[in-house]
Amino acid sequence: MIRGIWTRETVAMVFLAALLPVAVSWIWDEGVLGTGRLVFVFVLAGLWQALFTFFRAQSPSAAGAVSAFAIAVLAPEVGPLQLAIGVSFGFVFGELAFGGWGRSVLSPAVVTVMFLGFGFPVADWPHLPVQIGWAAIPAAAILLFFGVLPWRVLVGALVVLIAAGGFNLDLLTSAVVFVLVFLVCDPAISASTPLGRWLYGAFFGALTALFAAFWETAPVQIAVSAALLVSLAAPLLDEMAIAVWQAVRRYRHG
C-alpha cells in the first residue's frame, strides 16, 4: 500500500521553509548578537526535545525550531539565565509535557515569552524592524500555497484588524503580523472547525485592537498576550462551532 506525505514532520518542514525569508531579514537586522541569541535558544530547545526523546520515547519535531526562532525574536531583553529558565519552562510545560507538537494546547514560544514578560516586567520588549512584517508576507504565501496555514484564521484576523483600525493598516505592526502568521495560525494550536477558525482569527484581531487601544506598551507584548488568550479559547470556540453544526443538522435532518 502507498502512504501520503502530510505527516506532522512534513507540516513542520513547510513551516521551516516559510520561516526562511523572515529569518534572513531578522538576522540581517540583528547581526551577531541576535544570531548568538538564536543559537542559544535553539540549542536549549533541542536539548529538551532530545531529553524527552531519550527518556519518554517521544519523537522530536522540527516545529521546535520554528518556536525557538519565534522566542529569539519576541522574548523580552533578559539575561541568559533568565532566558534559559523561560525557554525550559515554555518547552517543557507548554509543549513537551503534553506529548509534543500536535498534542499541546499552547505554543511553547507564546508560553516562554509570556513567562518572561510576567516574570521580569522591567525588561524591555524588543522592537521588531518593519522588514519583518514585509518578510512575513511571502512566508504566509508559502504556507497558504501548501494549505498548511488555516486561511480562515488569517482572513478573520486581518478583517477585524483592518476594520478596527479605521480601515488603515496602523494595527498591522511587524510584531502583530509575525505573531499572527507563525504563532496564531499554527494549525496544531488553532481551532480546527471552519466556523471555529473564523471566530478564532476574529477574536485575535479583536483582542489585539482592544489592547492597542487601552494599553500603552510595546506591540510585541500586545500581540503575544492576545495570542496566549486566543489559544486558550480555541477549544471553546471549537465546541461552539460543533454545537452550531449539530443544531443545523438537527434542524435539517430531524
Binding site: 500500500m1 501520503g4 506532522r8 519518554r56 520515547a57 501548501f146 480546527s192
Partner: protein, 304 residues
C-alpha cells in the same frame, strides 16, 4: 415480500450494505432511504457507465422500481454531471456529484443528505447490482460477469475486463504485468487489500510494485520507535480528504481517543472504513483511522 425472498435466495441481497455498521442488512430489515451509487471516484476505478450501457437502461429502471418498494423514504441515485441516467419516478432523487475523490463515496453522500442513525438504517448499493436485479426480474437469470478494471503502476497497460465474481487475480493480471516483484490488491490503492481472489464488492484491481522495507541503522530505528505515534495536524489536505463536510479533526480526535459518544454526535454512524481510507493515505496515520473507525463501530454495535 416475494421480491425480498427472490433477492435473498438469488444472493443479490448480499450486495446491499446497511449503515450504521456497514453490514449486509438483516432479512426483515426496512431502510429509511437507499443510495444507488452510479459514480466511483476512487483512483483508477472503472467508469460505472460501462456497466450500465444502452442495453441495460431498461433493466436499471426495473431494478430501481424494485428497490423503491423496500423503503418508504427516498431513493437517491448518485451520478455524474451528465444527463439523467434513469427515468424519473416517484421517490427517486437524482444527485449529481463531482468527479473528485472522495465525492463519489456513498458515506459522504449519506452523511450530507440522509444520515444513518441507530434507529434509522440507510442502505447503499452499486448501480451494476441494481442492473443485476433488473436482469433477474426481467429474464429470471443472474448476470455471470462483472466489469472490473485492472490498473496500477505494476502493469504494462490498464485493462477493463469482464470476469466472474471471485476471479483469480494472478491469472487475470499475469499477461499484462511488467517485470519485477508485484503486489496485487483487490480494490483501490486506498482501501484495497492484498488478495489472490477478487473481493465480493470490489470492481477494481490495483497492481503495485512490491517494495521491501530497507533496513535502518539500529540507532535511527531506536529513535523512531516512539512510544506514541505522531499526531495528525489539521491541514487543508486533511479537510479535503473528508470532503469538508463535517468537523473532521474533531471526528479524527474522537476516533483516536476512543470517545464513541462524541464520534456518534459527529455522525460516525454514516461512515464505514472506505470513507476514511483517503485520510489514512493523506496523513500516513498510524494506527489507521479506518481500523479505529471499525473498532468504534463494533463497540457501538455491541452496546446498542
Amino acid at each position: 415480500m416475494a421480491l425480498r425472498h427472490l433477492l435473498q435466495s438469488s444472493g443479490l441481497w448480499m450486495q446491499l450494505r446497511a449503515r450504521p455498521f456497514g453490514k449486509v442488512p438483516e432479512a426483515s430489515a426496512a431502510p429509511a432511504a437507499i443510495f444507488v451509487m452510479a459514480v466511483d471516484t476512487r483512483p483508477l476505478a472503472p467508469d460505472p457507465h460501462h456497466a450500465i450501457g444502452e442495453e441495460n437502461i431498461a433493466r436499471l429502471n426495473l431494478g430501481l422500481r424494485a428497490l423503491s418498494r423496500f423503503c418508504e423514504g427516498p431513493l437517491f441515485f448518485c451520478q455524474d454531471r451528465g444527463p439523467d441516467i434513469p427515468d424519473p419516478h416517484d421517490g427517486l432523487k437524482i444527485i449529481r456529484t463531482s468527479e473528485l475523490h472522495p465525492e463519489g463515496l456513498a458515506g459522504l453522500q449519506i452523511h450530507r443528505l440522509f444520515p444513518a442513525r441507530l434507529s434509522r438504517q440507510v442502505w447503499d448499493i452499486l448501480v451494476e447490482d441494481v442492473v443485476a436485479i433488473g436482469h433477474l426480474l426481467s429474464e429470471g437469470l443472474l448476470p455471470e460477469t462483472k466489469v472490473v478494471s485492472l490498473a496500477g503502476p505494476g502493469l504494462r497497460e490498464a485493462r477493463l475486463v469482464r470476469c466472474p465474481p471471485g476471479a483469480d487475480l494472478r491469472e487475470l493480471c499475469y499477461a499484462f504485468m511488467s517485470p519485477g516483484p508485484r503486489m496485487i490488491l483487490s480494490g483501490s490503492v486506498l482501501d484495497g487489500r492484498e488478495s489472490r481472489w477478487l473481493g465480493f464488492h470490489d470492481r477494481q484491481v490495483t497492481v503495485l510494485e512490491r517494495r521491501e522495507p530497507t533496513p535502518r541503522h539500529w540507532l535511527e530505528a531506536a529513535l523512531r520507535r516512539a512510544s506514541r505515534p505522531e499526531p495528525v495536524i489539521a491541514t487543508a489536505a486533511v479537510e479535503q480528504a473528508l470532503g469538508g463536510a463535517m468537523p473532521g479533526m474533531a471526528l479524527l480526535r474522537a476516533l483516536s481517543i476512543g470517545d464513541d459518544e462524541a464520534a456518534v454526535d459527529l455522525d460516525v454512524l454514516s461512515l464505514v472504513e472506505e470513507d476514511l481510507a483517503l485520510v489514512d493515505y493523506v496523513t500516513a496515520a498510524s494506527p489507521r483511522f479506518s481500523d479505529l473507525l471499525r473498532a468504534a463501530l463494533n463497540r457501538i454495535e455491541a452496546n446498542a
